[in-house]
């Protein structure tokens, strides 16, 4: 066990080292040869990896150091993304269950479910965020992060619905006959056979949705001009990129880490919930 963990840590460090070497090697080669394809490389377009790391210790205009500023921003985004993810997953799951039960409904509704995902999120987000801003809940509009989470859930529900439908149908025909032989009711078959059979499919969707919800939250913040999260930080640092490119790079790393964090949480949940032959995880 300890040996396996050790092996994983070593692999992780090796890959990390390899990526760092690629980064720095690329920078070194392009700078040295002054190649301009696909773009010219200098400290502005591609800062040193370690310089980005060191930048985290610099203070920002808010008075906080960059690392702390970004953690605050990441937590704000994480809150919207997590709530949106959870809401989208629940809606997506139940939509899938309903659509599988009623085939007529599925044929009628599925095209709109697909259409909902072809509308660019950039076009839809401002409408949703502004629209919800004019809604009154208990005398005041819902807080910013709630509006952003709606965008995140919009990106989350779709893969969950599609995979739930697929998964619920994946139940073994013999297992269904077995349930039939027990004179099991539809709900019992759903709960004791179809849903457990669907779980691996649903978790695949949740892994996709986990990272999508982070992206959705960031885009939602940007289109709604909400500046507390990573979306706001990206817009802000983008404006000052020429003065300090490392701030934007650091923000991007935080966004990536947040996505990875979400993914790992889903992975962990899968390990706890799904008891299958351990042939495939990740």
């Amino acid at each position: 066990m300890a040996a396996r963990v050790g092996k994983r840590v070593v692999t992780f460090l090796l890959v990390l080292g390899g990526l760092w070497a690629l980064w720095e090697g690329y920078k070194w080669l392009w700078e040295r040869t002054a190649w301009s394809k696909p773009f010219r490389v200098d400290d502005l377009t591609l800062p040193h990896a370690h310089a980005i790391l060191l930048q985290l210790g610099e203070s920002t205009s808010t008075g906080d150091d960059l690392w702390l500023f970004l953690i605050r921003a990441a937590l704000f985004t994480a809150k919207s993304a997590a709530v949106g993810f959870a809401f989208g997953a629940v809606v997506g799951f139940f939509l899938g269950v309903v659509l599988v039960q009623f085939d007529v409904l599925r044929r009628g509704i599925m095209p709109y479910v697909v259409a909902s995902q072809t509308i660019p999120i950039l076009a839809l987000a401002p409408i949703v965020v502004r629209g919800l801003g004019s809604v009154s809940i208990g005398g005041s509009p819902p807080p910013d992060w709630v509006r952003v989470s709606v965008i995140a859930s919009y990106l989350t529900f779709f893969p969950v619905t599609v995979n739930t439908i697929r998964g619920l149908r994946s139940a073994d025909p013999w297992a269904l006959e077995l349930m039939h032989s027990y004179a099991a009711r539809g709900w019992t078959v759903l709960w004791k056979l179809r849903v457990p059979s669907a779980l691996p499919y649903i978790f695949t969707a949740l892994k996709i949705a986990a990272t999508a919800s982070v992206v959705g939250a960031i885009i939602g913040e940007q289109t709604a001009s909400i500046s507390n999260g990573l979306g706001g930080a990206i817009l802000n640092f983008n404006q000052y990129y020429v003065l300090e490119p490392k701030n934007l790079w650091a923000t991007n790393f935080y966004a990536a880490l947040l996505g990875i964090g979400f993914f790992l949480v889903v992975l962990l949940a899968e390990k706890v919930v799904v008891h299958r032959a351990p042939e495939r995880l990740v």
Partner: protein
């Protein structure tokens, strides 16, 4: 014919698949008495599995009637009068051995304590003590099929339907499970209908062997097996055993030898 002791009573049963399509079964009449062990044997396409499914009300007959415990098959299914074992174990991967066995008991609304007690008995019956907490994929094929049998018997159904349950297992495991099945049958006193394509398995296990002919599936002959009970590994070496095996084999050849040879020839050509 006394209706009271018949567990299964089949009258004039036919099954046609599709509109004007393949006739799988034609004019089947069969009575299975309480405590009998009846095997259905025949070449592929003789409808033996179809017949079993109709008895279990998994599919409906085109014509004729099936009564289980004196009730229509559908009523019998709704009353959970039979347990079924398929060719594959059909265990739920996400459930442990104990929880797989308890599945039908959950459907029947048994409480936790009652379920646990029955699962203990069943685990003992199929000799899987110590594996209660294992998941199916951690067991061998033979052990998985034993779990499947335990699950089918857990709610003490009057009738056990088995569709080539040992077909996917190796010969050694199969013979051992044959013995175990006979012990379980004797201990539980249940009635068994057993589909197989192994002549020796059919003769070894059964009190009667029903030989079926293919296309359309019919009952060609019924061979009563008078081998003494309880049967043991030595039973397979008795002259009477070989005589009965020969009789079943000859019945099979009489009904479908052409078909079988034709099939074999086609398979050879393909190979």
């Amino acid at each position: 014919m006394s209706v009271s002791t018949s567990v299964v009573s089949i009258n004039g049963l036919s099954k046609v698949f599709g509109k004007g399509g393949v006739t799988a079964l034609q004019g089947i009449d069969l009575e299975v008495e309480r405590g009998e062990f009846v095997s259905l044997i025949g070449p592929s396409g003789c409808g033996k599995s179809t017949l079993l499914r109709i008895v279990g009300d998994i599919i409906a007959p085109t014509e004729g009637e099936v009564a289980v415990n004196g009730k229509p098959a559908r009523k019998a299914r709704l009353d959970r009068d039979y347990g079924i074992v398929f060719q594959a174990p059909v265990l739920y991967d996400w459930r442990t051995v104990a929880k797989n066995i308890a599945l039908p008991l959950e459907m029947l609304g048994w409480n936790r304590a009652k379920r646990a007690a029955r699962v203990r008995d069943m685990v003992e019956l199929v000799e899987l003590g110590g594996f209660e907490k294992h998941h199916p994929w951690q067991l061998s094929g033979g052990m998985q099929q034993r779990v499947s049998i335990a699950r089918a018997l857990s709610f003490s159904p009057a009738l056990l339907l088995m569709d080539e349950p040992f077909g996917a297992l190796d010969e050694m495991t199969r013979e051992r499970l044959n013995l175990e099945l006979l012990r379980i049958w004797a201990e539980t006193g249940s009635t068994v209908i057993f589909v197989t394509h192994s002549i020796s398995e059919a003769v070894f296990l059964s009190t009667r062997v029903v030989v079926m002919s293919p296309r359309p599936g019919r009952v060609a002959s019924i061979v009563p097996v008078d081998l003494p009970q309880p049967r043991t590994a030595a039973t397979r070496e008795q002259p009477r055993f070989f005589e009965l095996v020969t009789r079943v084999r000859e019945s099979l050849h009489a009904v479908g030898a052409d078909e079988v040879e034709e099939t074999l020839a086609t398979e050879d050509e393909l190979a």
